[in-house]
Symmetry: C2
Subunit: 492 residues, 2 copies
Amino acid sequence: MSKKLTSRAEDYSKWYNELVVKADLAENSAVRGCMVIKPYGYAIWEKMQAELDRMFKETGHQNAYFPLFVPKSLFEAEEKNAEGFAKECAVVTHYRLQNDPDKPGKLRVDPEAKLEEELVVRPTSEAIIWNTYRNWIQSYRDLPILVNQWANVVRWEMRTRLFLRTAEFLWQEGHTAHATKAEAMEEARLMNNVYATFVENFMAIPVIQGVKTESERFAGAEETFCIEALMQDGKALQAGTSHFLGQNFAKAFDVKFATKEGKQDYVWATSWGVSTRLVGALIMTHSDDKGLVLPPTLAPNQVVIVPIYKGEEQLEAITEVVNGVVKDLRSKNISVKYDDRDTLRPGAKFAQHELQGVPLRIAIGPKDLENGTVELARRDTLTKEVVALEALNEKVEGLLAEIQESLFNKAKAFRNSHITEVDTFEDFKTVLETKTGFISAHWDGTNETEEKIKELTKATIRCIPLEMKAEEGVCVYSGKPSKGRVLFAKAY
Amino acid sequence: MSKKLTSRAEDYSKWYNELVVKADLAENSAVRGCMVIKPYGYAIWEKMQAELDRMFKETGHQNAYFPLFVPKSLFEAEEKNAEGFAKECAVVTHYRLQNDPDKPGKLRVDPEAKLEEELVVRPTSEAIIWNTYRNWIQSYRDLPILVNQWANVVRWEMRTRLFLRTAEFLWQEGHTAHATKAEAMEEARLMNNVYATFVENFMAIPVIQGVKTESERFAGAEETFCIEALMQDGKALQAGTSHFLGQNFAKAFDVKFATKEGKQDYVWATSWGVSTRLVGALIMTHSDDKGLVLPPTLAPNQVVIVPIYKGEEQLEAITEVVNGVVKDLRSKNISVKYDDRDTLRPGAKFAQHELQGVPLRIAIGPKDLENGTVELARRDTLTKEVVALEALNEKVEGLLAEIQESLFNKAKAFRNSHITEVDTFEDFKTVLETKTGFISAHWDGTNETEEKIKELTKATIRCIPLEMKAEEGVCVYSGKPSKGRVLFAKAY
């Protein structure tokens, strides 16, 4: 079917771009920077959504929906947030098209249908939501508000890449309101934990939890918690963030509440989100030169069955056996697809399922029918074995669990072997360019040093790990005192 | 808690608007015509989504996601479709804001960041999707494509009402591609059937299936199938539509395929959608002067339990019993909420749950503890009975099924009693103004007559029913020959 994939060693970036398209996950659209998420890619996102949504509800959150548009006057109310996003806002200025008098059959924007106030297509929804919360909150009895929204957002990025950075993307954004600072801070931590649990257990991607430095914080936040993952090319990827917003948005939108003691106070806020970017992280963590590798939890089909036959009669005999296998596997909640298309040869089917990362492939031919066996192939290790039909159900169940664990362990071993402690700036630069990965180094805590290092090396501080060792030291760049090591890396 | 609802008899429209807000379903936002869907309203929409999504997948469809924006040149390619939607398009013209030099702290649209080509915020996605399908389809082997998208769309309506007509709304839009006309027509019929089944069985709203007249068709369709429901005020509401699009979009976007015989042909298309408008239909079909009435299938909480107590000790004893009840009900997949808030009296809780349409309410006090009973109240009939604890589980299960059926039957009886056959234009006008509802009348099949009747009475042809009796007659307006009765009504 499709031509061979560029290998990771050859050109990692090209490998990624090709893989996304060839595995039928997504493609570029006619709209600059916006992607089409194809059914196979969307099925993976749906599985992520379902699990996250379950976790959000289990922690007491409810879904709601707020407008796509933010009037400019609301958008600019929280100044830091507005400043942070102003440069990438798509703006609606008109509400009507009309026939173009100069070009028959063509349309033009109706100059008479200009909006009095421009509407920003939401790059994030704090402004519109906090403007709404003002009417929802009068007293401490109305708190907390624990709301999440599944939505599309638009950030007019200049350089885009499928899943990793697109002008429009899909995400969820939680927006919570609390009576106390401690409670809001606790919520921000909790949701960062939920993200870490989800990404590790469900996506099999190990992450490091930490907080962002001031310069890397979300615009309008007082603290940004994050989870950071490491891709196979040694670059870091921010997989999710959870923000403690203090009273910034409450002040900007005048959201006050009567406390238990009858005083008036501003409400405390958090927001948190993950996006379709996670699909990019998934691809770049597990996949190989043959294509996608999917953890069983996220695979649209966990098992595919390919019949090897000549003629209708053989196919019928095989299909009869396969029907039993399909039924057995489904009774164990294993998703399975019987690929009996007559338009492709088995070899081409194998290649496609390898490319699309189906965790387990069962092949069954006339010999197998005689012997009561099947051939079982594992996508992650590319190993095959012959399995007796009666042992198949249990075998598959066991292997799916094993693959899930093995993918995580493999990624974790790689990640752990790519955290390097360095103590000199020379080593910093060498490791960054040769070994790559996270660099654990002392930092003097200043914006200036952080900026300078970024300028010189393109590495940024990915996070100050929550589990940072207390360790006195000197800054790898300035030589000034430091209280612990932070993680630097080049990042997506 | 909230003040009394306006009654339906007093002012139906006001009743609806108040109910939507008071029952915490939705509210108007700071953006003209756009609504905020509140958690309780969104929970109902989520249940509708889940069931529809299941039905779409069961009929072989997959989800995908296409861009929010449509470049103007693509939007105008299918001329009828473009003409139909041009007057209500929100248009993005710029991609950046900047500090306003004249107003410190304020932003303005950056005049230098004008898009070369304006982007229409999708009012529907045929254009962007068929432009994409061109690259997905080469041969008959690539067909059919059975894709659905859950998305937000924007139509700049001048007069908006919560759920019923909003500038932004949530919906699903199916877009399928087929090798033959017959197959596409069959798909359009099938999905209209899926909608009818969903709306009747799940939402307990009876519908009439039919096709639209030419003037009421979707812009760009060759046939529009629809389901029409009747609201309690005697106005009709279009609850869903499924369009046979012929080869119009394939021709506009040059989507051809190689047939089995090796010829080139244009692809046949359908599209079909339902939206958050259905929530409006739900409210207007079942609710009463005390508030919302929800069919159990769509109720976020099917059962609410309210403790009646004085002092901590009584509450503890009640809670112990309630915990058992909750566990039992949940084991039957019945959603139940224990409302033990200490900030509201039982009467206020009763009022709130009545307003929010919880199908069954259980009250339990000290007397009940002694007797091993509870008080069980039904929202739809407002009847109460005392039930023995040991019989509760079965009773609740039975009642939920009974309520679902009863709501449907009640709505169907009302609808059936509001289909009136008339044979003179005098009767037509009288029935429309006094009895209201659907009017079944002969029509000569011309656009002119349809227009004239609309102009004189505000009634439109809601549909030509699929199960139209073949009956010779004369047009109620023109006196010209007619082959069967069609359904007229005033409509939302």
